[in-house]
């Protein structure tokens, strides 16, 4: 056990040493621009081709369908804006969910300001979208469905395959934000009828600042970054070669043994969940009890506020995150927690602990030792705790 315990892998992961190692030569030695004719350029191009192949293999598609971007956010923006604008003549309606990442939600808001109509599907108390609800929301104007594979806050895994089938049946483009899912949810874009898929390397032990968009061949998507002819003339900007190499290596490692990876993380996750439920009262597990990411733990602790909880844990060497308004930079707590029906006061008291490959049982046990004390201390300070011994009411 190190001196600090990192339990915020959903925010970002470390880059694995073996990934970094593959990247290093591309900074100082093989630093050519893949578009260049000379030997430096050819070496770069070769490395890029390999990374594209590895990425394609992980998604069960052809390298020609993979386009590298500067982030998961850019991939989401490109998919949603690009598909909407390119298919504007067919219709102006988009279906998404109320618990998407802001990269999708705020892009939808932008499109709403520009003449599109967006349906934000509600989710159930576990954060699950109902595929039939998607079907019912379709109108003759619907051109795009965007539903994330797995939620970044509460870890709920959506019925992507079912939604893909409906989208295909209706001839509507289907985008999924798989940023949190890569390495935990097996993806086959063909089988799952996915037309567009976003991913981001720093969520699966690759470097930050590199993502990819899978686009099925023939799908019409407008360009959003204009300039040079890179990425087969669809995404301009000198290719970020070291990061592309890192993404390729990281995704290869990430999909190598998903069942094994999941089993390991789920064991830790369930130990943490069970431990918390059995030691801390007035506590609620957020997200789906079974259909959840293997590394995701999300709790609401009544009567206390999330940032204070995070700081207290941080002092004890535990790094987590929260959907509290105080940590989101906005006035309201997490839109995801509100969407699953938590009242504001409960949502403020949320804690997300996301496990990664290096976490150990020992670390989990340390958290289980410290967390109840910290919660207790904050509750004793809280005016809400005394007032309502029985706990606040919520659905």
């Amino acid at each position: 056990m190190g001196d600090r315990i990192y339990l915020d892998h959903a925010a970002t992961t470390y880059t694995k040493p073996e990934v970094l190692e593959e990247m290093l030569p591309y900074f100082t030695e093989n630093y050519g621009n893949p578009s260049s004719v000379h030997s430096f350029g050819r070496e770069a191009r070769k490395a890029m081709d390999l990374a594209r192949e590895r990425t394609a293999r992980a998604l069960h598609t052809d390298p020609g369908n993979i386009f590298f971007t500067g982030s998961g956010t850019e991939a989401d923006n490109w998919a949603v804006k690009g598909a909407a604008l390119a298919n504007r003549k067919k219709g102006n309606h988009i279906i998404t969910t109320s618990i998407e990442h802001h990269a999708v939600l705020h892009t939808c808001r932008y499109l709403e300001r520009n003449g599109f109509e967006v349906t934000y599907l509600a989710v159930d108390k576990y954060g699950l979208v109902d595929a039939e609800q998607v079907r019912n929301a379709i109108t003759d104007q619907t051109i795009l469905i965007s539903v994330m594979t797995a939620n970044n806050e509460i870890g709920t895994i959506q019925p992507i395959r079912e939604i893909g089938t409906i989208a295909k049946e209706k001839g509507i483009l289907f985008h999924t934000d798989a940023v949190q899912a890569i390495g935990s949810v097996p993806i086959d874009v063909e089988e799952m009828n996915i037309d567009l898929l976003s991913l981001s390397a720093h969520k699966f032990y690759g470097p930050k600042g590199i993502g990819a968009l899978y686009m099925r061949k023939g799908v019409k998507v407008q360009q959003i970054l204009h300039g040079g002819a890179q990425e087969r003339n669809r995404r301009a900007g000198t290719e970020n070669l070291p990061a592309i190499v890192g993404l390729g290596k990281a995704i290869e490692l990430a999909v190598q043994d998903i069942p094994g990876h999941n089993a390991r993380l789920e064991a830790l996750r369930d130990r943490l969940i069970t431990g918390i439920l059995s030691t801390v009262e007035h506590t609620r597990l957020n997200g789906h009890p079974e259909r959840r990411l293997p590394g995701n733990v999300n709790f609401s602790f009544e009567f206390i506020e999330g940032e204070a909880l995070l700081l207290s844990l941080d002092i004890k060497g535990i790094a987590g995150s929260s959907g509290s308004a105080c940590t989101s930079g906005s006035l309201d707590p997490s839109h995801v927690l509100l969407a699953i029906g938590l009242p504001h006061e409960i949502a403020h008291g949320s804690l997300r602990l996301t496990l990664g490959e290096n976490n150990t049982e020992e670390e989990v046990d340390y958290v289980l030792e410290v967390l109840p004390q910290v919660v207790q201390k904050l509750r004793e300070m809280s005016p809400l705790f005394n007032q309502q011994k029985g706990g606040l009411e919520y659905v």
Partner: protein, 124 residues
């Protein structure tokens, strides 16, 4: 993000608790917004002889609660009323801009408690 002083008052908050039969009580904020501060005062001859607080809120809310109660302890009511949110923030070596509202909360809670005390005095 937070100064050392803020962290000190967050980790070891002064004056946490309640006062039985307080002479004045003030509660401001609401749970919906994620910030509630409740202040209890014991007052003798217009001097605040004891003060306690309970706070539901972020690190800054707890630290400003702690610091502001320290600042008014042993002071006359008039002196306490002169303690502004700026004074509290400065005594904590500053607060991040997005957290200034927490210091306002502390100022308001104290004012509300003194108001409550005065109301009770008038009613006597």
């Amino acid at each position: 993000m937070y100064s050392e002083k803020v962290m000190d008052h967050f980790i070891n908050p002064r004056n946490v608790g309640e006062i039985e039969n307080p002479d004045g009580v003030g509660e401001v904020g609401n749970a919906r917004c994620g910030d509630i501060m409740k202040v209890f005062l014991k007052i003798e001859n217009d001097v605040i002889v004891d003060v306690k607080f309970k706070t539901f809120g972020c690190g800054a809310a707890i630290a400003t609660s702690s610091m502001s109660t320290e600042l008014i302890k042993g002071k006359t009511i008039d002196e306490a009323l002169a303690v502004t949110n700026k004074t509290v923030a400065e005594s904590l070596d500053g607060l991040p801009p997005v957290k200034m509202h927490c210091s306002v909360l502390a100022e308001e809670a104290i004012k509300a408690a003194i108001e409550d005390y005065r109301k009770k005095q008038r009613e006597k």
